[in-house]
Amino acid sequence: MAPTVRKDKGVRLSSDLVLGLYSDLLTELWEIVSALIGEAILAFLFTLSIRKLGDKHPFLHSLQVSEEGISWEKLKEDCRTIAPDEIHRGFQGLINQLSHLFSALADGVINKELFPKVFPKVKEAERIISQQ
């Protein structure tokens, strides 16, 4: 099945594009945070967040996270039929939830490292999506 597209403003925004944006973002987040707290704890936090958000954004259950990292194959396959907006909201929720957990665990230590590198990209992703 072809990727879902939105043509309301004459610009095509595919699920693949949104997924690509968040895939880069989360990969970078993984690299930064795993260096601080280790892969085992980070994988645990990802799983916890996905479980929490899974009811609202079921496609997140297709995101496979282990100590080895994030595997995107299944998600990319499953997301082809999902609207880009929904993918965006799901990942936005995931990043917010992770950020909330990082604050609860380590005050601002993790977010201080994360903010300069990752959050401008979150804003950029939000900007791209909102312009469509």
Binding site: G38, I41, A43, L45, L48, R51, A106, V109, K112
Partner: protein
């Protein structure tokens, strides 16, 4: 650079100490001894979910309000991570005070928790607890502290997981899964120790073999689930009717065995008779009906019965139990050379 090497060395010895620890307290102590060389903190805590234990190592001048705040924070963070609320009242707190702030430094009596690092102790996707370093200073910790703590936390989680597995294997080898009493394997081990002690010292040792009368009827009439519940209730009665130093074990099926160290024949008869009467006077609920049950018991004793081995003591208790059954059940019999008697010994 020299500081980094120093810290790495401390980290290495901390990990070594944790990985060679075999008891939870030892694991916590290993971390508690080494962490002050890596961080400046006011308290360091470990919460162990399984037993609801919270160990807190803290600066000796730490006010109790700070400790309470640190405990509350750890439990809150764990509740978020573990997705389950933890009742703080049920948590057993172990506090150890140490001089952490150097010779001159003391904490203000009104000090409050200003910063912390708390990490889950997670292994294979399972959360075992959490560990935390706390400070009365704002922004006391940085990214490097977090890295060190995560390495220690990872090792600690792995060691605690080993400890948990080991405990569970040890439990399986020690306890009867249905009743929670000691199992036959543990009984053999314990009896060997107690018999050696008695044979060597001459101190008395009694053995009481217990059997529930007509238990097969309970199973046949009400089913095995109800039968199992009766076994659990009687196990609990047995456990609560003996002294602290006694051992109660499930010997098999509906048979139990009691080791009564330093109990003379007269004393062991009194204990057994009390248990017999207690069961006789208890109404057991089976489904919607209440039933009466009785016990038969056989007693053997060293040195009253001239035994040369622990096996003989078991055989004698078994023989006495057989006599109690043959004598009409609901009796306590003491082994005798010719035949067992069920009167109070003189």
């Amino acid at each position: 650079m020299r500081l980094i090497f120093k810290n790495l060395n401390v980290l290495r010895s901390t990990i070594n100490a944790i990985s060679t620890s075999v008891e939870i307290k030892e694991i916590v102590e290993s971390a508690g001894n080494n962490l002050p060389h890596l961080f400046d903190f006011s308290s360091f805590g470990i919460f162990w979910k399984e037993d609801l234990l919270l160990f807190l190592y803290q600066e000796e001048s730490c006010p109790s309000s700070f400790s309470q705040e640190a405990v509350k924070n750890m439990i809150n963070v764990f509740s978020v991570l573990g997705e389950e609320a933890v009742d703080a009242k049920r948590v057993t707190l172990h506090i150890e005070k140490r001089k952490l702030k150097g010779k001159q430094g003391t904490m203000d009596r009104k000090a409050t928790l200003k910063s912390h690092l708390t990490l889950p102790l997670a292994v294979e996707g399972e959360i075992l607890g959490c560990l935390s370093v706390n400070s009365d200073q704002p922004n006391a910790f940085d990214a490097q502290d977090l890295q060190f703590l995560s390495v220690i936390g990872y090792q600690m989680a792995a060691s605690l997981k080993h400890f948990q597995r080991f405990s569970s294997i040890k439990n399986m080898a020690t306890y009867d899964t249905l009743t929670g009493l000691y199992n036959r394997r543990y009984f053999e081990e314990r009896f060997e120790v107690e018999a050696q002690k008695s044979f060597h010292s001459g101190l008395p040792l009694s053995l009481v073999m217990v059997d529930i009368d007509h238990f097969k009827k309970v199973n046949d009439t009400f089913g095995h689930t109800e039968g199992d519940q009766i076994l659990c209730k009687i196990s609990s009665l047995l456990k609560n009717s003996v002294r602290r130093k006694d051992t109660v074990a499930r010997y098999g099926g509906e048979e139990f065995i009691l080791i009564l160290p330093e109990a003379a024949l007269q004393q062991s008869f009194v204990i057994a008779e009390r248990i017999r009467q207690l069961v006789e006077n208890t109404l057991f609920e089976v489904g919607r009906v209440q039933v009466n049950l009785t016990l038969s018991m056989g007693i053997s004793n060293f040195p009253s019965h001239r035994v040369k081995s622990k096996e003989e003591l078991i055989k004698m208790a078994d023989q006495a139990l057989y006599d109690a059954k043959r004598g009409g059940r609901n009796k306590v019999c003491i082994f005798t050379e010719k035949s067992s008697q069920w009167t109070v010994p003189t």
